[in-house]
Amino acid sequence: MLLLDLDRGWGLLRAMAPETLLTLWALALLLDAAWHHRDSGAQRRAGWLALAGLALSAAATVWLWASGAAPAGLSTTIALDRFRYAVDLIVLVAAALAVLLSVEYLDREQLRIPEYHALLLLATVGMMLLAGGEDLFVLFLGLELMSVSVYVLAGLDRRSPASAEAALKYFLLGAFASAFLLYGIALLYGATGSTKLQIIARQIGPLGLLTHPMLLAGLALLLIGFGFKIAAVPFHMWTPDVYDGAPTPVTGFMATAVKAAAFAALIRVLLEAFSDVHALWGPVIWWLAAVTMVVGNLVALAQRSVKRMLAYSSIAHAGYLLTALVADSMAGAAAFLFYLLFYTLMTMGAFAILALKGRGGERDVMVDDLAGLGEAHPWLALAMAVCMLSLLGFPGTAGFIGKWYVLVAATGAGYPGLAAILVVTSVISAGYYLPVVMAMYMKPQAHERAHAGVLVPRIAGATLAVMVAALLVFGVWPNRVLDAARAGSHAFIPRAMTAAVTPLPPAGAP
């Protein structure tokens, strides 16, 4: 047990070691980019350096976790709990996967942007602040740091009008959403006199704020702002175009890490500061989850382009994650962490394969373009099939176990209706995941050389293999991850008392 005094420089520095190290590393990468940016070898080396920085930050996170660091007194700046560490690690893994997948992609697409990796690291710092911020200020600044970096990453490919459109659209709507969020924070400050989550939680009861209009308006605006970032229906309009236009590894990063961090912040705000007023936001999240699942899955059915289909699929998955949040319980938080890791792996995998298949314009990879991939590239097709089945929630893959625990959390907290919607919409989602598998294995190649352009480079191939293996291994042997997720959810024990705290059934039950 390591007590850290967050009011003193040294304690604060140790509590924020993962973020600080990563920031310094990003600055060093920027300096490196200033001198070495002429050749493609330098870009590759920057990629490896970025990976080292992510590993260093992950090591610091694991050190904090292992040392059982706890704040002396209230932690009003940054949380020292396992929820933060778990989300940090997921975000770091997603960033590392994005780096690994972009090394060869940037080469192939002739994108020479020396600052790429530094921006990616800065975005990751923003995400880690979102995962750990105990103050609405820190959360907002983390969100902006993440968003500003990702706006630029989305618009990297300056030769492509679609990329520029994606960046601009993302920027404008993101700024719009930030304004909502900031206004919400201002009203919450007006109502409670603080921006610190734990103090807000303590003020609500004694000050009799349960139905105070200022609190209600602030909370509503906050939910709208986060709704945009996690792409929940009806705030999802930007998602398909932005995901479609951005370079594919960046899209994977956006669909996983950005969403994970915004979700983590939303969960922390709701469970830590507003657990007492669950009656206010519970129904809102219920409807958001239901509408997001239904609309995301139904619209995905109509998509022919694989990238757009995956964009709508990620919207649908936001609905599943919201379902875990409605429960307002430790079980919900654990199910969320558990599902988040698998969602990150399978979505990254799907986008990685798309990046390999599409050459110079993966915008236009239609489902039918994958016809016969099973014959031409059996391993690649197998990887895609595993990702699709896992996204669908097929038994034997990690996606199934993840969905299972979300269902358990939702029914355990008394939301059988939402669980039913989850099951029904998951069945609907077979209507767009399975055609991809069918096209790969059951349709002949369009012509002899249909997949001749698909080359699987070494690094991306190895990364993909690891991801797919993880999906299969965790699908049948989830215990270790489950334990970690459960440990992560312990962050919310003391406050999440309004809902029945339903522990997860013993690991390996299904």
């Binding site: 920031t23 600055l27 103050d135 500003v148 109502a191 409670t192 006199g193 308006a217």
Partner: protein
């Protein structure tokens, strides 16, 4: 006396803000905005926050407005541009948005924050007198809000790097 000063500056601020958004010429709008910012600075003085007022004049009314005017000149926006609100639909939406804001203002007025949160009169002035205006701002900034302060600098750096990456002609 304070009340008279407050209402005067408030009226000037609101009138200049209205003029700022109704003028056709961007330069005129920018100049009316300067007026609004100056009036706000005066109101900060009335709130016992002279340091914030000075910063408001230096940064907002000074630096940022110069930047605005530069951009207007660079983009050659000196001519009058067509209005943003077009057609009956646009007008209806604008009126509706305005009404929502008015409604919200009234609702928030009626739902004043709980009395426990209100500082006793003269607290801010007391702090300023005891510690000086700069220290009254600097202490929370570099102690309680150290992390947000530092993250802001990282955020600005990311924005600068991003702007350069997107705007650089030759990479």
């Amino acid at each position: 006396m304070t009340l008279v000063a407050f209402w005067t500056f408030a009226a000037v601020a609101i009138a200049s803000a209205v003029l700022c958004i109704t003028r056709r010429s961007p330069v005129a709008s920018a100049l009316w905005l300067v007026n609004t910012l100056f009036s706000l600075a005066a109101i900060y003085v009335l709130l016992d926050a002279p340091f914030i007022a000075a910063i408001q004049v230096l940064v907002y009314a000074g630096a940022i407005m110069v930047l605005f005017l530069f951009v207007i000149m660079l983009l050659n926006l000196g001519r009058t541009a067509p209005g943003d609100i077009k057609g009956p639909w646009g007008r209806a939406v604008a009126v509706a948005a305005g009404l929502v804001l008015v409604f919200e203002l009234v609702a928030l007025w009626l739902a004043a924050p709980p009395g426990e949160l209100e500082l006793p009169a003269g607290t801010v002035a007391g702090t300023v007198a005891a510690r000086g205006a700069v220290q009254a701002v600097a202490r929370p900034l570099f102690q309680g809000y150290l992390v947000p302060f530092e993250v802001t600098s990282v955020l600005l750096l990311a924005a600068i790097v991003g702007a350069v990456v997107l705007a650089k002609r030759r990479l």
